[in-house]
């Protein structure tokens, strides 16, 4: 065996090493000095993120179980950046609320373990690796959702997440077993060659789809989302809505576009229906939310519906637009969650009414929030517009004009509730508005990166060209 091949797993190996290192640190560092682990973790992860951008060759390992190409590599980097921002945003929270209970570094360990799972999931070359990655990415997050053990809703969130995730993966597995039965292999390549549209494969595909649908919180499988987001710590809600969803979308895309391509005439229709249902339900439920976390939860469900517009194409254009959109979505949603996090940390307030008059006391935070919401709503010139426009273009390229029309109707609905937040922050005045506060360095850094991302990613066209170039592999 040639050990240099393992360099293909550079991301995974480095992250694993960091995780182990932190675990050892957690074990041996004295309690009083443990908060230094925050800085250490962020520093190490920052280096990891930077190293991630180095070139990587395209190849596969373990007889095709693990594969990597530039697209996957790029997506791992996107996830890395997302997690880095997340870490920056959660640093204060950890220091203030968690480390004094002597259980802060678990946050990093679990989070990194989950990220590791995602790496493996999106790099998977067979269903076994995929499944292990899926579970490794889900289970630590469930533990993290129940992280604030003194809070009841946190435990509830954990329960709901783990139960739904377990059922989802169970259903998925049953579907995979059917695909295995018909194709005789669990390797993607072999399945793609052997699969034909029979009743069994279609049923298997649907069950499998349902399983991933849970993770992306598509509509019939979305019921856990809002509760989990509300109960879980904000960092975790944000992780779930951004990183976890992004990775799931990516692997679903790969599987649909490569392995299940022969069944395209079936899943096209499924995606069509789910896209409409997801957009409408997500948006209509978001209208009446008052808690910011629930609000963002439903908004993220709706966003998942938009992503399906790219998924329905099954073309290179679809791949590129989805990745582009997810990239933008990562920054936008992280910015929104970051502001919610900052405010919740300072004042404990998570209600939309509490944001009334925020602009007059905390203009910068409100501006970040506004940019994030505009990006989510798809208002130019912030990035979200470009992401959405390209997704719609992708869908229209296949002639789904009705779907695009319904999607733009949804964009308008979504604009309404995003503007509700803007209204609270900018239009209204309040006597007991959240007083001015200054964020810590990490939080500010985290927010600034997201703002830069929101402003730049859309307008900077070479990025899209780059993604398009890479997306040819699928």
């Amino acid at each position: 065996m040639n050990f240099s091949n393992f360099l293909l797993m550079r991301h995974e190996i480095i992250l694993l090493a960091i995780t182990m290192f932190l675990l050892i640190g957690e074990i041996f560092i004295h309690e009083k000095k443990k908060s230094s682990l925050i800085h250490l973790a962020i520093f190490l992860f920052g280096i990891h993120t930077a190293v991630g951008f180095l070139e990587l060759e395209e190849s596969s390992l373990f007889g095709g179980m693990f594969r990597s190409n530039n697209m996957i590599h790029l997506f791992k980097n996107v996830l890395n950046v997302g997690v880095l921002i997340l870490l920056l945003q959660s640093a204060d929270w950890l220091e203030k609320k968690i480390f004094n209970q002597n259980r802060g570094s678990e946050f990093f360990i679990l989070l990194f373990a989950s990220l590791l799972g995602m790496y493996f999931m999106i790099s998977a070359g067979d269903f076994l690796m995929f499944y292990i990655g899926l579970e490794l990415s889900t289970l630590p997050v469930a533990a993290l959702a129940a992280y604030e053990t003194v809070k009841r809703i946190s435990s509830e969130a954990g329960i709901k997440l783990i139960m739904s995730a377990a059922l989802a993966s169970g259903v998925s597995l049953f579907g995979i077993s059917m695909l295995y039965a018909t194709s005789g292999s669990i390797y993607f390549d072999a399945i793609a060659e052997a699969i034909t549209a029979s009743n069994l494969t279609i049923l298997g595909m649907l069950l499998f789809f349902a399983g991933l649908g849970f993770k992306i919180s598509l509509v019939p499988f979305h019921f856990w989302t809002a509760d989990v987001y509300e109960g879980a710590p904000i960092s975790i809600a944000s992780y779930l809505s951004v990183i976890s969803k992004g990775a799931a979308v990516f692997i679903l895309m790969i599987l649909l576009f490569t392995v299940l391509k022969p069944l395209m005439h079936v899943w096209e229709n499924v995606v069509y229906v789910l896209a409409i249902a997801t957009m409408f339900i997500g948006n209509l439920f978001a209208l009446r939310q008052q808690n910011m976390k629930r609000f963002l939860a439903f908004s993220s469900i709706a966003q998942a519906g938009f992503i399906l517009l790219g998924l329905i194409t099954g073309t290179q254009l679809g791949v590129a637009t989805i990745v582009h959109f997810v990239m933008i979505y990562v920054f936008s949603n992280l910015a929104a969650f970051g502001v919610v996090q900052a405010i919740s940390l300072q004042t404990g307030k998570e209600h939309m009414d509490d944001y009334t008059g925020l602009y007059r006391t905390n203009p910068n935070l409100s501006l970040v929030m506004m940019l994030a919401l505009f990006s989510l709503a798809g208002i130019p010139p912030v990035a979200g517009f470009f992401g959405k426009f390209f997704l719609f273009t992708a869908a229209a390229s296949k002639g789904y004009y009705l779907l695009v029309f319904l999607a733009v109707v949804n964009v308008t609905i979504s604009l309404y509730y995003y503007l509700l937040v803007v209204r609270a922050m900018f239009l209204r005045k309040s006597d007991n508005a959240i007083p001015y506060f200054k964020n810590k360095l990490y939080m500010r850094l985290g927010l600034i990166i997201t703002v830069v991302g929101i402003l730049v990613i859309g307008l900077y066209s070479p990025l899209y060209d780059y993604i398009y170039e890479l997306s040819g592999v699928f």
Binding site: L317, A320, F374, I379, P380, P381, F385, F389, F390, F392, T393, A396, S397, G399, Y401, V404, F405, V408, V409, V411, T412, L415, Y416, L419, V422, R423, F426, L427, R428, S461, Y464, D465, Y468
Partner: protein
Amino acid sequence: MDILSLFVVVPVITILILVFTKGLKQARHVSMVGSLVQLGMAINLVFSYFKERAVNDAIMVFTKDIVWFKQFNIHYNIGVDGVSVSLILLTAIVVLAGVFISWKMSDLPKEFFVSLIVLATGVYGFFISIDLFTMFVFYEIAVIPMYLLIGIWGSGPKEYSAMKLTLMLMGASAILLVGILGIYFNSNADGGALTFNILEIAKVNIPFEAQKLFFPLTFIGFAVIGALFPFHTWSPDGHASAPTAVSMLHAGVLMKLGGYGVFRVAMYLLPEGTLHWSWFFIILSVIGVIYGAFAAVKQTDLKYINAYSSVSHLGLVLFALLMLNKTAWNGAILQSLSHGFMTALFFALIGMIYGRTHTRDVTKLGGLLKVIPFISVVYVIAGLASLGLPGLSGFVAEMNIFVGAFQHDDMFYRIVTIISVSAIVVTAVYILRVVGIMLMGPVKNDTYLDLQKASWYEKAGILLLLIPIVGMGVAPLWLSDMILASLEPFIQRVL
């Protein structure tokens, strides 16, 4: 930096400087300087355009083409013809006037001016775009600051109005998006590459089925902002709640995006669709003209009167565009310009009156001519322009429109033309009624006796708008020639 890109760059620089200003004084001075530069650029553009036109007979001049997203064939593609030049000039004037009118903005001045100039950026960008995508982007950039402008600095039911306006306009843009995508994916009908470039698409024969499907989407998408009849409801509420400068920009400039878009995109790119659907939209626009005029008669709130009159006048623009002949089109553009100056002036005056008397209810006002003569006289002039008095801008525009409209010898066209002409009579009714009640007669309230005279910045704003109105009325030919020359390609394509 080319002459057109500056129209986007200068406002952006202004905004960047504004962000670092403190207090009202710095903010308004920076904005004034920025707007002055823009006005200078606009005037310069007019002269350069004439010069360029003499040597260059391309459809668009001063073009610049930079590839943006090459996969979608999206370009940053700009250029102007006579129509856009005139509208850019309108914008520059109204923006500067708006800055003057907002001289005393007390609440969050910096943010106000930033939003105002963002709006201006969007409008400039929209008028110079040749690329559908860029156009769409600028369209949305122009619309979204309205939410904040009305919501924060407005009055009355401002949150409701702001939300209604934003949602209706964004909803329209969403429909428009589908239309644009439809055009885009049919732009390779003749075997070329997919493109967003208007000039390229104009060379393509898009299949009739597609035209039939996408024309209404595109048309409605643009026409909503041009206050097409059942979709006009955002406009009166928005105008009524908006602060003065925003009403000016909104009615004066933003609503022109509708007519321009309909003309430049929907009709130019989908000619067969236009022919197929024109009867339907003609009926709608005529209803708009009549409805707006009669509604204005009913209103007592000055802003509502003017808002409904805008519906009526802009309905006339759409009507003229759908008449499908050169004269009517020329009239439509002139009407856009005329209405832009006129209604901006109206709103500015109403803002001044409101600022002094704290009411906009016509029935409560009276005899203002005696206390604030300058404002009142200008109001009368604006009113006369609005009802189409010869020698003022309104006459030129309406004349062209109806002359063009009567060129059709079809019964249907005759009838609708007659109906819409009758709106002029109604216009006279409400204009003169307001003038009569508000300006003439005895002073109804003693507190009105010591109202302030117009200050220098108010006068500056008013004069800025008044000069073009008179100018257009007195010497319309240079403008009308410039526009007519630019209508040639449209005529070839559509007729």
